[in-house]
Symmetry: C2
Subunit: 273 residues, 2 copies
């Protein structure tokens, strides 16, 4: 079976033009079929501020209202995505920039209204997250995605999906990466790679040299029990192990500027079964 | 040979949400392979105004500076393109939204600096149009575009291209439509359709019932000689006949809300050899 790499970069790379160019050059050099998923970064927040659109929060939860959706569609789906594609073309990588609506590859469900207890209002409220899309295993049209990969294109996804009924939806980029990887395990031996600002999962979050090279579910359980895993990492790692349970061969978590190590299996922390 | 329809819509449709939905529903219903190219409309101008970006003109010629390119990349490549794609998906048309950078389909040349005589400054000046892309017959990678068509996707292009060196470029949508149609004549029997605000080419520009049903080069020459063709139409028609000279079977020019007539060859003015 051919191998496939699904790589996610976050806002810290997007926001730094030099880092981004260096990353894209490294990404282009990775051999074989690959997919890139990019998050947003601060450009959308900056544009919202310039347009006088205030971030809408209910009880600390971010809401995607109509204005915010317009901004992220412009910034993630247009500005960031198309500039990444043009840069990858410069590095001889035949990128094609997509949202989940394109070729109907990711069809999400609008997050349902939830009853929560609002601390702010000291009462139960119906919380509507707005135009946010949630994903499950049935969300991805793997056949369409494979057609693009088999044509020799490198899909580049922004974190926008749709509901199949004409509505675009804001969607978590980590989840998109994980769901895309899991949906292609029948066609490819799939690796999922999360790039972030640290060298990987660390024994001591303040010591970049304390990298944990590999973690399996039993090591993960011990690390959590002993309070070694930083709380912010837990959703990321839960997400990663879920992808592995769904057939993804391995998940790497590491620093975006170390991507070239991937070819030698030398990149950050490796999670496996 | 299979037939292919390359259809261009302008800003007047984009700016009217009801007209746009009605057009997209009609477009989705057209049988066989097809491509959509859309222009911009007033949304980009509105966003520029909100952001305090002034339209830059030199001697009446519009310049695409860096700020303007950012705005059109967001609005044409993101907001408009992705909403059109999501709507087409609703109408069961498997659209994929693209710029010329995606899959390297349209590689343009940045318009060279031109020496012009400036009336404003009453002297010769070097005019730099900024980030504007010009196209010729070699600009299109027909093989990549055919892979998308053969996969059953409907490409939807915004009027953004790239130079292959990492730079996005603002490009005339009419020209994109004409060049795309001409580049596919070996693989498809190609028709090019321009949708605009009139019923077609009119004998009397103020009388919608004075439609000229068909024009060939000799009729065109007579109409021009007799001053019947409205001056604003001449570049559009020159463009159309150039496409026909390059192997496009026919060009239709008509009103966007009459698109369903295409299936019966009953749409606006038909230009042929």
């Amino acid at each position: 079976m051919r191998s496939l790499k699904v790589i996610k970069i976050g806002g810290n790379v997007i926001d730094n033009p030099e880092k981004l160019q260096s990353f894209l050059s490294d990404f282009a050099a990775i051999e074989g079929p690959k997919i890139l998923i990019h998050g947003g970064g601060k450009i959308a927040t900056k544009l919202s501020t310039e347009l006088g659109i205030e971030a809408k929060l209910i009880d600390g939860r971010r809401i995607t209202d109509e204005d915010t959706l317009r901004v992220v569609t412009m910034v993630y789906g247009g500005l960031i995505n198309k500039n990444i594609v043009a840069s990858l073309q410069k590095y001889q990588c035949n990128a094609i920039g997509l949202t989940g609506a394109d070729a109907n590859i990711i069809c999400a469900k609008k997050r349902p209204v939830k009853k929560i207890f609002s601390k702010e209002m000291n009462q139960a409220i119906d919380l509507d997250y707005g135009f946010v899309g949630d994903l499950d295993k049935s969300s991805v049209d793997a056949a369409s995605l494979c057609k693009l990969l088999e044509s020799g294109f490198t899909p580049v996804f922004s974190a926008i999906t749709h509901d199949g009924k004409g509505q675009l939806l804001n969607t978590n980029a980590d989840t998109i990466a994980s769901i895309l990887a899991a949906s292609l395990v029948k066609q490819y031996e799939t690796s999922l790679i999360y790039c972030f600002e640290k060298s990987g999962v660390l024994m001591d979050v303040n010591d970049e040299s304390s990298l944990i090279e590999s973690i399996n579910p039993s090591v993960y359980s011990d690390l959590k029990k002993n309070g070694i895993i930083n709380e912010g990492m837990i959703p990321k790692l839960d997400n990663a192990f879920e992808a592995i349970e769904n057939g993804v061969k391995e998940v790497f978590i590491g620093k975006s500027d170390a991507l070239t190590g991937l070819n030698q299996n030398n990149f950050g922390t490796r999670l496996t079964m």
